[in-house]
């Protein structure tokens, strides 16, 4: 396996593992006290519609931060398109690795247009976001170095992808043969410099992403469903009751004198016992 194929494999593995680790950690966090925020859409259907509208139209940004909306929309749609393209290529590569024909890749103008659209939207969006981050005093003042690293890195990926599209692999035929060979355990074909740059930058970024706020693509499920819209009351004999009993029996570690904790007293004891 070539270095590029190895890097891509490791990048994808690190991305999946990192995201899983973060998601499992969020899932395993103790039940919190109710902290819901209205409006809460009615039923699962209403909640799904609200989330879908948010993901597809960035409604809140459009309404409350209109100057950021267009670059943000372009950026996100670029990512949606390229993610879908990557998933299609990966699935196609897997099929091809096992000898299936994948006529939709290689020589397809649809895929070429798809890629071009994704790269253009993503790059324009990233440039717009970078410009707003640099020029808007409020956003600039609150930006962390990591915010610039994220956008800069993505811009570099879009640049390398544009180079690969323009000079090496417009119809993604090479990408398919590369993936099919790698997934089939055969020797991968020699990659162009553009393709190698694109793949290495992407692999590194995938490994890095779980350490950033960009995990909001799945964390949003928790922030909305598990906090903002979680108005489930305590029910006798229900799992929440058991969980609360477990948590109230945990020791209180806080040290201020009025808390009256000694490292052993539980939350239930501190809340109901004699105050110091």
């Amino acid at each position: 396996m070539s270095l590029v194929a190895l890097a891509v494999a490791l990048g994808i593995a690190a991305f999946v593992a990192g995201c899983l680790r973060k998601a499992v950690r969020a899932l395993r966090m103790p039940s919190h006290l109710r902290w819901e925020l209205y409006p809460i859409p009615a039923g699962r259907g209403g909640q799904a519609r609200t989330i879908a509208e948010e993901v597809l139209t960035l409604r809140m940004v459009r309404q409350r931060n209109p100057r950021l909306w267009l670059p943000s929309l372009l950026f996100h749609y670029g990512l949606y398109l390229l993610f879908a393209l990557g998933a299609t290529l990966l699935a196609s590569g897997l099929l091809a690795a096992f000898g299936a024909r994948v006529p939709w890749v290689g020589g397809s103008s649809v895929l070429a247009a798809w890629g071009a659209l994704g790269i253009a939207a993503g790059a324009l969006g990233a440039l717009g976001l970078l410009a707003r981050r640099g020029l808007d005093p409020g956003i600039r003042a609150s930006s962390a170095p990591g915010d610039f690293v994220n956008l800069g890195w993505l811009l570099a990926i879009f640049g390398a992808s544009a180079g690969a599209w323009l000079f090496a692999d417009r119809d993604y035929g090479f990408a398919l043969s590369f993936l099919a060979a790698a997934l089939g355990g055969r020797g991968v074909p020699g990659a162009s410099a553009w393709f190698a740059a694109e793949a290495l930058l992407l692999a590194g970024f995938l490994a890095y992403l779980p350490a950033t706020h960009m995990t909001h693509f799945f964390a949003k499920w928790f922030t909305w469903h598990a906090v903002r819209w979680d108005e489930a009351p305590l029910v006798a004999g229900g799992p929440l009751e058991t969980e609360m009993q477990r948590l109230l029996a945990r020791p209180v570690p806080w040290s201020a004198p009025h808390v009256g904790a000694d490292g052993r007293k539980t939350w239930a004891e501190v809340a109901t016992g004699e105050r110091p």
Binding site: R64, H216, T223
Partner: protein
Amino acid sequence: MKVGDLGNALRPGETLSPLRLEDLVPLPPPYDAIDPAALWKELDASKKESTSGVLDGVCALNLKRPADAAAEQRLVDTFKAGLGKLLSEDGNWAFLQPLALTLENCTHCQTCAEACPIFVGSGHNEAYRPTVRADALRRLAARFGPGGNRWKGALAGDLDLNADTILRLAELAYRCTLCRRCAQACPIGVDNGLVAHELRKLFSMEMGIAAAECHAKGSELQLRVGSTTGMSPAVVRDNVEFIDEETREKTGLNVATPFDKEGADVLLLHNAGEIMTWPENPGAFAVILEAAGVSWTLSSELVGYDAVNYGLWYDDVQFARVALRHAEIARKLKVKKIVLGECGHAHKALMVVADRILGAGAVPRESCLAFLDGLVASGRLDLDPARNDFPVTLHDPCNTARAMGLVEEPRRILRRIAPRFREMAPHGVENYCCGGGSGFAIMSPNNFAEWRTLVAGRLKMKQVLDAFAGEEPDTPKYLCAPCSNCKGQFRDLFRAYGAWERSRLLYGGLAELIVNAMPDVKPGFIEWGQQ
């Protein structure tokens, strides 16, 4: 001012992010002629230097700078210990998941900024940007929190951890009313308002730092004496007896408030501030409940006659102590349900946040807004809307609207009893905080009261005035504010801006407006005049 500046030393006399009175959101005429400087009080210069007042020239906490390097190191070490506990399961299981998600997923897009009434009302003072205190905590957690390191710290952004940072962060935690309008605006679901709450907890539960009005004169007093007003059980009985007499005289109805009636259908839990400061509100409730034939009672048990729970704003332990006490009193009285009086934070405390720690067998709790809505809809009250023929608008308390979704209930009542009711813009779950939320309405140290009326409540004041635009200045107007803390803030806002003299503006509760519409009551339950 940037987040990283919070730890910077300043030259003598310098303020990190000074308040600029000329930038405040303008008010409509004739209030535009009021010079904000006439309502402002500069912080004493010596205090500015010796306390945490160097953030914005305002001082809520009176924290003293450490005397020497060793004391500063102790302060830093205690803060670090608290940070670890705040991000641990044992220390903060109650809010760990929302806090961790908030710290990890903010993209710094600033969509929340324009949602904050304090940031906007101040004319965009950078210290009040909703992300500032949250980003400060993000940076400190990335560097010093569990799993934190230099690399994470570098990506999150620099922020020195020293006495300046800690003192300013403590003050910053008291520049947010916890109204959570920023959280509502966040497309990701990040809750930067929660961070102010969590910072207050760290300071209180680990470092013993809290606003005196919330802690020493607040929840501690309530747990010791029975009420944050200082009223003992005997005093509260005397005061309510006096209110009954006044109400009988005023209404011509025979009203007697029952105490400790075992097995009553309703245990009414007022904010005791109503009994002390706005006696017409408990009086109005008594009239309504008697007229509707409700079996009800007040409690004279310690803590049982004061619905407030200031721990909600700054300390989980104090919060749990008061909430469990309320639930226990109701259980012992064998009442069928608790009805929370017109107090927003008490609603959120006992009905929402405490819900999962009270146990499944706890006595049910209901909002007075829903309860009164039910009584009005049932036809058990004779009501004549013509008696309320004056302009009325409604202030939605953040804790009943945004945190509980109680939006239609008060409106159904107002549409029935107030023919000249009109909405503010925005309203309902998108309302602006009055500026007195999270304890601010009871806090007035140094120049904090002036800051609260000039900055925190500025946008609300504008909103109220806009709601009555077009009405003659000498037409009496009623701002219905069904929340004690909101009323406390409106009292100070209206006084500072001369709202009665300039616009004949009066604030009051919802129950008073209902009683004012009852034909059996002598006319004029609502008394117009300088409050």
